[in-house]
């Protein structure tokens, strides 16, 4: 739909969608509705993901996490895009994308290692094909492009999906990444989760283009604007983009319901009316309404999913409530492949100090 030569370089004026706010299907959508089993899976993972997210926020209150950036309200993006990935594809997430990670199969405790403060990363990137959760904004876009181009050079059919926020689109790295991707025709999908804010800064102070998707035009990168609270649409768009063999910029319009992190005070920069309006566009409710109307989601399945979510949350709680000790020797082990003499000396000094 988006990669045909005939189509305008510009994204559509209205976001592409498959489901309306109330869950009713959009008739004339250029997107293909995912199969029923995919839709059910999307729903299940969104419910579980949201419960995980709520649990993580709760863990900050108990001091079990150093910080947590919630993606509540963005589940259609987090889950829709990750389930659209093929096994061989790679994900390049940010700090906000813990739900995407657990959806990809990363152990929730390993996912939360960074935010718990135990180590900078808890999982093996190669195990689930998930890069480290990236904090310096937009820098992961370049890693994704390099990774995808390398796959191409190696003759592998691997695409990269990189997640970034509306704010991150202002960084120079995003531009360089889109440009390299355009020139190399690298198989990368840039999914901009436009949640309206970069911490406190609203989109209007971030960009003056009609949409962020318009940024693709300057790089010859096909661009799509999608309703980011419509998980079916996100799934369809990202899947097609990943399979296209080239780069795509996707802007997904969504909203972060919680504050930037538990440490943020969102009342300083947005109104509760605005939040309420977005709560009314809830992505989980939407898919639920659709599946229910189609008779695919009966009360039994709904409560099974809810139970699974509770169980998942309970297991996260249990894992995170364990008091752990952290071995200071870890500080020196992986600065270089083989610790240098200086580091061995420093490690020994610390060990002696602690002995």
């Amino acid at each position: 739909m988006v990669h045909t030569r005939e189509r305008s370089l510009l994204p559509t004026e209205e976001p592409l969608s498959l489901l309306r706010k109330d869950g009713s299907p959009v008739e004339d959508s250029p997107l293909t509705m995912p199969d029923d089993d995919v839709l059910l899976e999307l729903h299940r993972r969104m419910v579980v993901g949201r419960r995980f997210d709520t649990q993580a926020t709760a863990l900050t209150k108990q001091g079990r996490l150093a910080v947590y950036p919630s993606s509540r309200g963005q589940e259609a993006c987090e889950v829709g895009s990750v389930l659209a990935m093929r096994a061989e594809d790679w994900l390049f997430p940010t700090y906000r994308d813990s739900v995407a990670l657990v959806t990809r199969g990363v152990d929730p405790a390993e996912t939360l290692t960074l935010l718990q403060g135990g180590w900078h990363l808890g999982y093996d990137p190669y195990e689930h094909r998930v890069g480290p959760q990236c904090t310096p904004l937009a820098t992961n876009t370049l890693h994704a492009v390099g990774f995808a181009h390398a796959a191409r050079l190696k003759g592998e059919d691997t695409a990269a999906l990189v997640l970034l926020g509306d704010g991150a689109t202002s960084e120079g790295d995003t531009h360089e990444a889109l440009n390299f991707a355009g020139v190399w025709r690298a198989p990368v999908v840039f999914l901009v989760q436009n949640n309206g804010y970069a911490i406190s800064v609203p989109l209007s102070k971030q960009n003056a283009a009609p949409t962020l998707a318009h940024k693709g035009v300057g790089y010859g990168v096909p661009s799509v604007l999608v309703d980011g609270n419509d998980v079916a649409a996100v799934y369809a768009v990202v899947r097609e983009a990943l399979e296209s063999g080239g780069p795509t910029l996707v802007e997904a319009l969504t909203y972060r319901i919680e504050a930037h992190t538990n440490a943020d005070d969102a009342t300083r920069y947005r109104t509760s009316d605005e939040v309420a309006a977005w709560l009314d566009r809830d992505p989980v409710d939407r898919i639920e309404a659709y599946l229910t109307s189609r008779g695919l989601l009966d009360p039994a399945r709904r409560s099974a999913v809810a139970a699974e979510a509770e169980e998942f949350a309970a297991s996260v709680r249990d894992k995170m409530n364990v008091d752990r000790t952290y071995d200071p020797a870890a500080l020196f082990e992986h600065v270089y492949a083989t610790p240098t003499r200086h580091l061995r000396e420093q490690a020994a000094a610390l060990a002696e100090e602690l002995a």
């Binding site: 403060g117 310096p136 202002s170 911490i199 960009n207 005070d265 420093q346």
Partner: protein, 330 residues
Amino acid sequence: MTVSMGRALNQALADALSEDPGVLVFGEDVGPLGGVFRVTDGLTARFGESRVFDTPLAESGIVGTAIGMAMNGLRPVVEMQFDAFAYPAFEQITSHLAKMRNRTRGRVSLPVVIRVPYGGGIGGVEHHCDSSEAYYTHTPGLTVVTPGTPDDAYRLLRDSIASPDPVIFLEPKRRYWAKGELSGAAVPMDRALVRRTGRDVTLIAYGPMVATALETAEAAVEEGWDVEVVDLRSLSPFDDETVCASVRKTGRAVVVHEAAGFGGYGAEVVARVTERCFHHLHAPVLRVTGFDIPYPPPKLEEHHLPNVDRILDAVARLQWDDEVVGGYRA
């Protein structure tokens, strides 16, 4: 008046904005939110959106446009949200901000202040706790200062904004909440201050480590050491006079900082103090610094950061039993 360092900085910005209509404050989230550390709290409301405002999220852009504004006669005070997030601006800082005056033979001044909350000790995750002073102090053309007390936070920030040269203003974020008096006293911006006098050994510290050095000095009393503490305040230029006077007096010195030791700022301090005070030294000038590792995660940072015990340990290694003055051991 007793205030926190954060409030002292806020007050300095407010006073500068009031006194000079050319002063502007901008950066990421410094507007209505007041900055993630609330240092700019209330300034947009008081001075308006055209003087205190949020920018797009782009550090090179923030510094680069600040340069342009300064060329056009304004005095921008910009914030980098955290230490590591100043790195995208490194080219603008190094190749332009630092060099413009020299390049133009003094015709173009860039009175820009870059505020950088730096250092660890607050349980921050990766990229939020770097001590990046050595990158800036090695760059000629930059003035680099860092306050250790609310009083210095206020006056150094006022002086930085008034300076005709670009200033990297490093704010020790773990001390934002520490309280102290605003004295109203002026101290030249480029001078170090002896925070505590002592006869036996000089602790040379700055920013977040000033308080730690003072604690160490108190703890050292028990060990029988009379410790002098010098707070550098200005990292570049360096106040040789004050520091060397102290070291010549005590004959022993330890430099303390959070940053990795290798190639850190402390190396310069050791090198120049040793050059200038060689024959007064009873022992090599030692360093107590962070390890040569990326800043650790919250659960491990306590092991990385210099603390009282580690500084006392270094003091103990200053060859106290070596009674032969300037003794030579093969």
